[in-house]
């Protein structure tokens, strides 16, 4: 086609037609946009909310509680479990049209679920607050979650640890037959007063052989602490046997440390400390020997000391229970 002979060239026309037809959309069957029923539909439970343990769950037998319910829509849900005696809490969230994959093996947020207690289960929905469902399950035994990592101590076995007092220590003992222990019935308690930063320590001997799947980069040191003394903190110290002589020599062996403050609200808190937070301690006589990196194959002892955030003159202390190392993720 030229300007001097402007009759339409069929070749260009047909090509244009092909291109046009290629664009013309045909009807699709798959609906556009988000699911309307999920946004605006009324929630109905097709099967009632229930669990597979009507007679209670035996965690000792490695049983798990499996919850079930079926909904008419895909919804966001949250299942909250509350122990009626221990006060333990746990929640599971998800999205779906049923609860097919939701199971509970005894996990908890802070305090462990206790033996012989009722656990209330509340199923709530973000978009449908009126459709909350309730159920309960009986827990026969306290769940044993030590399989999640390397349990250092839960204070049930007195040989696993030792307690060391100092000049400023006023009290440092284990409490037995305690119903408010995190796990079991024993926990440690200690406090001291004065313008110091060391009021006593819990000492745990470490055996590198047990730490095969623990790495510094990914693993966590998890402990449960409770304090009522404002300004309390704990200093975690890990001692290496750098010179392989089986004892800790200040000035010859590396020490790694970190200080963690504790909120003084009188409630058990779980602290998940990444091992990578431990840094080389160069205070006092301490030195860097093997490059200044924590080497778990040389690890000899773990100290959990009672300390304070600053250097004020006051009373500081806390309770401790259930100390465990977990390999990949926090407890």
């Amino acid at each position: 086609m030229t300007l001097l002979n402007p009759s339409p060239n069929p070749w260009i026309l047909s090509r244009s037609l092909v291109i046009i037809l290629a664009f013309v959309g045909c009807a699709k069957e798959e609906p556009l946009g988000p699911d309307l029923s999920g946004l605006y539909g009324e929630l109905e439970l097709l099967t009632a909310f229930s669990n597979n343990s009507p007679n209670g769950v035996h965690f000792e037998a490695n049983e798990k509680v499996e919850f079930s319910a079926d909904f008419n829509l895909e919804v966001d849900y949250t299942l909250s479990l509350t122990g009626q005696s221990s006060g333990a809490k746990y929640s599971i969230s998800g999205k779906g049209a049923n609860l097919s994959d939701v199971s509970w093996g005894g996990d908890c947020d802070d305090v462990f679920f206790g033996p012989m207690e009722w656990v209330h289960c509340v199923l709530e929905f973000d978009d449908h607050p009126q459709s909350t469902q309730l159920d309960s399950v009986f827990v026969w035994e306290q769940p044993d979650l030590s399989f999640k990592g390397v349990l250092l101590t839960s204070f049930e076995d007195p040989s696993a640890f030792s307690l060391t007092s100092g000049d400023f220590t006023e009290y440092l003992e284990t409490v037995n037959n305690a119903p408010d222990a995190v796990e079991g019935s024993t926990y440690m308690t200690g406090f001291g007063s004065g313008p110091a930063t060391w009021f006593g320590a819990l000492r745990i001997t470490m055996d590198p052989a047990t730490l095969s799947n623990i790495t510094v980069a990914d693993s966590f040191l998890n402990l449960h602490l409770r304090s009522e003394f404002e300004g309390s903190a704990t200093v975690i110290k890990v001692f290496e046997d750098s010179n392989d002589d089986g004892i800790i020599n200040s000035g010859d062996d590396e020490v790694f440390t970190t200080k963690v403050p504790i909120a003084a609200d009188g409630q058990w808190q779980r602290m998940n400390l990444p091992l990578s937070d431990l840094s080389l301690d160069l205070s006092g006589n301490n030195v860097a020997v093997n490059g200044g990196l924590l080497d778990l194959d040389n690890i000899l002892r773990l100290d959990i000391t009672i300390s304070q955030v600053g250097t004020a003159d006051g009373t500081f202390g806390f309770d401790a229970d259930y100390i465990i190392l977990t390999p990949d993720e926090p407890f």
């Binding site: 300007l3 402007p6 664009f23 069957e29 798959e30 556009l32 699911d35 309307l36």
Partner: protein, 578 residues
């Protein structure tokens, strides 16, 4: 007569332009330059009253102005003509001369470069077809009374939206060849700047197009290509967004039947994944449309048209989907009433009487934009963006007879549309639309000399979609218009008009992002009435000069939030053109 034209390069072109026009106005000494004048002048007083119960909002709203839009056309050389519209206006509430303003409304240089090629540079008007480049009419009118129509005309004039054209800043070139067998070949190009970049976050937006048209006695063929480009490299870190469209249409006239078909599509890069490669199919958005209609005429007055069309949900066409009204704006007067309890939406009365200020807040839109603008569901959700509303297919039947100058006229339209692709659920919405419009000259019954004409129309639209899990879609919208015109004595007429808009039901309005992907649904439940009644007197000296005074009564009820209001207005409009 002495003229003063001190040239100061910083002063606007207004004074020299006016002086130039006046100096050479009646010059007959040389053939060029030659000047002609025309104009449109208008006086308006608009007073609104709110009922007394409200003690928080303003009770009265007054606007009064007189202006003249002087159209100056100058043939500067045989190949260049300048056309400009100079507005001089004054706010009549004040007496000092600072109440006046001068503004250049339009300036275009045009001319014939050769016998074949014509160009225009400046403020150009562009329109193609309803699927490609089209400025859709504002909602809320089906054969309305003259009392409302004259205000709608005023608003359209202020908005530069006369007809269905977009007013753009750019240039147009058109070449026209006439061939021996009375066929015409035409090429038009245009390029325009939609938005200037501020070099920080707002990128430059350009739009251009080419239309090739071949007209033979019985056949008409056209191919169009356009591009709407957001240039990302005009802002630091910006990304480009481009919508290109290609379409073709033909029309064929066989005996008394006219067949017209159009098809095309758009191809757009995606804002979510601005891809560097044009061949990356996954990231590009494609959508198309087709439309075919057949019309037939008989008895010299009757016509019937059958039409079918389909538009994909990803068909992006900024210049035909942009709306003339910005429904997310608040009314310019009495926006918050009932002691601050009701933040009103725009009602028809607000749209018709929205204030004119040289730079004021008006809900009328002049900007072509890619994103789909918000719309008001009370006017129906079948075609909020006109014929190119995405995700629709349907058929319609129209029967019409007569035109305005005759004794009576009637137009009946019924159409059924459906979602092309379901939205949100697996069923499709079904839209049915019935529309009637007509007029009748009652005075012809008794052969009266004084005209008495009744006109009106009604539009009923239903959209339905049943569903078990959620509230079904069942929105019914109604629009009734009625008007009367009685010539009391020669050149003075009594006019009446009423407009009744009613919407009830539930709908789920889709919210689309800039890539036309539906991201959410907004569930609305409407139960409202919007009624306007008006009565007025009009004095028309001749076709060019009219003065009308009318009193309007608005009754606004929104039953779903339990709010009602009554607003009355007195409107005076005086126009004269020359």
């Amino acid at each position: 007569m002495i003229s003063v034209s001190r040239s100061n390069h910083r002063s606007s072109p207004r004074l020299p332009l006016l002086s130039l026009g006046i100096i050479f106005l009646n010059s007959a000494i040389c053939q060029f330059p030659q000047f002609e004048l025309g104009g449109y002048s208008r006086g308006v007083t608009n007073v609104g009253y709110l009922s007394n119960e409200d003690s928080v909002s303003r009770d009265i709203d007054v606007e009064s102005h007189a202006l003249i839009d002087l159209a100056i056309r100058g043939r500067l050389t045989p190949k260049a003509e300048v056309y400009s519209e100079l507005r001089l206006g004054t706010n009549l509430a004040l007496f000092d001369t600072s109440a006046s303003y001068a503004q250049l409304r339009r300036i275009v240089i045009s001319g014939q470069i050769t016998k074949i090629w014509h160009y225009e540079i400046g403020d150009i008007d562009v329109s193609w077809t309803p699927f490609t480049i089209w400025n859709n009419n504002a909602e809320g009118n089906v054969g309305e009374s003259e009392l409302f129509a004259q205000w709608r005309e005023l608003q359209d004039y202020e908005n530069f939206s006369e007809g269905n054209q977009w007013r753009l800043k750019g240039a147009k070139f058109q070449g026209l060849w006439t061939l021996g067998d009375s066929s015409i070949f035409k090429i038009s190009n245009f390029i325009s700047r939609i938005q200037a970049s501020d070099e920080i976050i707002r990128p430059e937006v350009l739009m251009g197009g080419v239309e090739i048209n071949i007209t033979k006695p019985k056949i008409d063929l056209a191919i169009r290509a356009q591009d709407f480009a957001v240039l990302g490299n005009t802002v630091p870190g910006g990304s480009s967004l481009n919508v290109a469209a290609l379409s073709a249409d033909f029309s064929l006239s066989i005996a008394s039947v006219l067949i017209r078909g159009e098809a095309g599509g758009s191809f757009s890069s995606s804002a979510a994944n601005p891809s560097s490669s044009p061949f990356d199919n996954g990231n590009n958005i494609r959508g198309g449309f087709w439309d075919i209609q057949g019309s037939t005429f008989w008895s010299n007055k009757w016509s019937a048209t059958v039409e079918a069309h389909s538009v994909a949900d990803t068909y992006i066409s900024p210049a035909s989907q942009s709306k003339r009204i910005r429904f997310n704006q608040v009314p310019s007067s009495f926006a918050q009433i009932n002691n601050g309890n009701w933040n009103r939406d725009l009602s028809q009365g607000d749209l018709l009487t929205s204030s004119y200020l040289p730079r004021g807040e008006r809900p009328w839109n002049q900007l072509v934009q890619r994103e789909l603008m918000s719309y008001d569901a009370r006017y129906g959700t079948a075609s909020p963006y006109g014929k190119s509303t995405p995700n629709r297919r349907g058929i319609s039947l129209q029967i019409a007879r007569g035109s305005i100058g005759e004794r009576w006229s009637l137009k009946l339209v019924s159409s059924i549309q459906q979602d092309l692709t379901p939205e949100g659920v697996s069923r499709r919405r079904c839209y049915t639309n019935y529309e009637t419009k007509g007029h009748f000259a009652l005075s012809s019954l008794w052969e009266g000399k004084r005209k008495l004409i009744i006109n009106g129309g009604c539009r009923l639209q239903n959209v339905r979609r049943d569903n078990n899990l959620i509230d079904p879609v069942n929105l019914k919208t109604r629009l009734f218009d009625i008007g009367g015109h009685w010539e009391i004595i020669e050149s003075i007429s009594l006019l009446y008009g009423a407009k009744f808009i009613n919407a009830r039901g539930t709908e789920y309005l889709a919210e689309r992002d800039v890539d036309f992907v539906i991201t959410d649904f907004d569930r609305i439940v409407l139960d409202l009435d919007d009624k306007i009644q008006a009565i007025g007197l009009k004095w028309s000296l001749n076709d060019n000069t009219q003065a009308t005074i009318q009193w309007q009564h608005w009754a606004l009820d929104n039953y779903s939030i339990n709010q009602s209001a009554v607003i009355s207005r007195v409107l005076f409009l005086f126009t004269t053109t020359f």
